[in-house]
Each structure stands twice: as C-alpha cells, then as structure tokens.
Symmetry: C2
Subunit: 196 residues, 2 copies
C-alpha cells in the first residue's frame, strides 16, 4: 500500500470480526516497528503479543472495557484476536546516557528536556498502527487504566512501562468515537510559520 | 512510495545539500502529520516550520550543534533548509479530560497512567519523518538542549513544549551515528509472546 494511503485510511476501529490473524502477519507488523527511532539508539521499546482468549479478557479488564460497552461500543478489546502491548523503559535510556560516549566532561548524564522514552514508544506505536492497515487489518489504541494489574498479568518487570494496548483484527462494523465530533483543530493553531 | 519502503529507507541523515525545499512539499509533509492519533482527539500536537537562515542558526544553537561538529558531523541543523519543530501541550489534554464526556461520576479528571501528550507527539514526529522520505527528502530528529531559549526564540507559549527539531532537506553525504555501532537489540528482548 502507498504510504500516504496507509496514513489516510488509518483510524481507530473499535470492533473486529470473529476471525483469527495468522502469526506471520502479526510478526511482520511487530518486526516493522523495530525501525522506529530511539534516542541514542537506546531501543527502549518492546512489544508483547497477546492472543490467548483468557489473557485478552484480563487485559481488556485493565482497560475498563465495560466502560466502553456502557458507552455503546462492542467489547472490542477482548474480541480482538490480537492485542499488541507497546512498552518502554525509562531506565534503559538512563543507562544508555550514562555510557562513555553520552556523558558530559564531568561524567554526568544529560538533563532530559523531554521524556524521549515516551516519544519513542509513540513512534513504535504509530508504525504498528500503520503496519496494521498495510496488512489489510484494522486497529485501535486504548490506554490501560491499571498498569499495576497489567504488569502482574503479563509478568512485565517494574522498570518497563506498558504504554497501552493496540487491539488488532479484521474489520467489523464499528461505532465511531464521539470525540471526533469535536472537529479538526483550525490549521492556524496547528501550523506556525517561522514563529508560533 | 510503498509504506514498507518508506519505513525501511528512513534513517537519520545528518547532512543536507545546499538546495531549498519548496513550500508546497513542506506543507504536504506537515499536513499529513495531522493524521496522527491523539488521546480523546485532543489534537495537542502542533508544528512550527522554520526556513529563515538566522532563525535556523539560532535553533541549531539550542541543540548544541557545535557538539555535533566537534564529533565530526557537518553543521547539519543550521544547514538544513527547513526545520520542523513538533510541539505538544500537556495542558490541552487536561482541558480535554475535564470536559463532561471525559470526567468520572464525581466530575474528576482521570489519573494519567502515561503522559500521552508525549506519545502523541511521537506519533506526529514519526509521520513527519516518514513523509519526508516519501517526498524524496531526508531528515534527522535532534533534541533541543535549551527549551527556554527555544521558546523565547520562536515565541512558543509556556504551556507548549517543543519536543525537538526535525531537520529536513535533500540528501548529502553524511556521517552515520556512532550509536548504531551498538547493534540491534536481540529479538527475544524486543518481542514477547503472551507474557514478558
């Protein structure tokens, strides 16, 4: 698929057909996310692939799926045949920036102006969402409301942050997010020329 | 260009030919970034497009370009004909999540498990970096070390965070990042099946 078409076609689809996604397809999607950039080539990102039905239901619980259902959505998180959990690790960045080629003349780590571990996780999640479309599938990103429960469920180390859940599958008729009714922010607030 | 090719071709290129990029091309790139997702459709992201040579030099200073030059790189930030400054606004997310459709039954904003304003900025930056490649250009993301100076220079409101600088232009021979010598993280540390 053309790059522009993948970007323009992509939207959060919150329902999935009852149809499995084959393992090779999922591996191609996750493999492509390895091309996301990372500060200092830290590669602090990681993914967990969840397909087990019981685990999917438990992950969905940490995302408060029942609140979506109350709002008229399908139980799309537990229904999705595949859940991808993008993760990041702040401490991996500190370790990287304490290495000899990154510290200052006094041997100190930089002051971080921005938590690049979260930006880099965003880059990887964006690639996953586009790769899903490129494979003819649909996806929806949701936040988990209980990272402690999610960590316990998936055996995620304390130093790793699961930044959310990407539900992936074949398209089914869905209800659009009511947030879209807000409309697009005016161009003049989005693009600034030379100065803000 | 095929989506996969854009992803596979993209890398940080830290040198640029002495050749301007036309305004329409830059606008297509920034326009495509509007398709990045955002929590609650907050659309907290924004971009500043800088082409003025004096401003580019001043932006490059906040990125400590001289340190790159000491490390054997070209002064690629000030040399780039275009600098894109992706921005995000944490407060925009709080405002959005204090609206009636987002607060809980007691009228309270959610507890944020993850600073999605930075992840969403990462999504927009990822789209910009890919769109650059799709347009036959190259780009490099760098952090600014002095957000206070960058804000003052570009008239950026205090509540907006410029998360970095994407230098964009036509390719010139470049020096690769020494960080790449670290090599790729083993697959087993990147992809986890069912559990970490």
């Amino acid at each position: 698929m053309e790059f522009k078409d993948a970007v323009l076609k992509r939207r959060m689809v919150r329902n999935f057909a009852d149809k499995a996604v084959d393992k090779q397809t999922i591996e191609r999607i996750v493999d492509l996310t390895r091309h996301a950039p990372s500060a200092g080539f830290t590669q602090g990102q990681a993914f967990i692939i969840v397909t087990d039905a019981n685990t999917r239901r438990a992950v969905a619980q940490t995302c408060e799926e029942e609140e979506y259902v109350k709002g008229g959505f399908d139980p799309f998180i537990s229904k999705a045949p595949v859940l991808l959990i993008p993760c990041t690790s702040e401490i991996a960045y500190h370790r990287r920036y304490q290495q000899a080629d990154k510290v200052d003349e006094q041997g100190n780590e930089i002051e971080w102006p921005v938590p690049y571990w979260f930006m880099d996780a965003g880059c990887a999640a964006m690639l996953a969402l586009l790769a899903v479309v490129d494979e003819g599938l649909v996806g929806a990103f949701v936040g988990s409301k209980d990272l402690k429960a999610l960590r316990a469920l998936l055996n995620i180390p304390d130093e790793v942050t699961p930044v959310g859940v990407i539900a992936v599958g074949y398209r089914a008729e869905d209800k659009r997010s009511p947030s879209l009714k807000r409309g697009r922010k005016p161009d003049a607030e989005y693009v600034h020329y030379e100065k803000w």
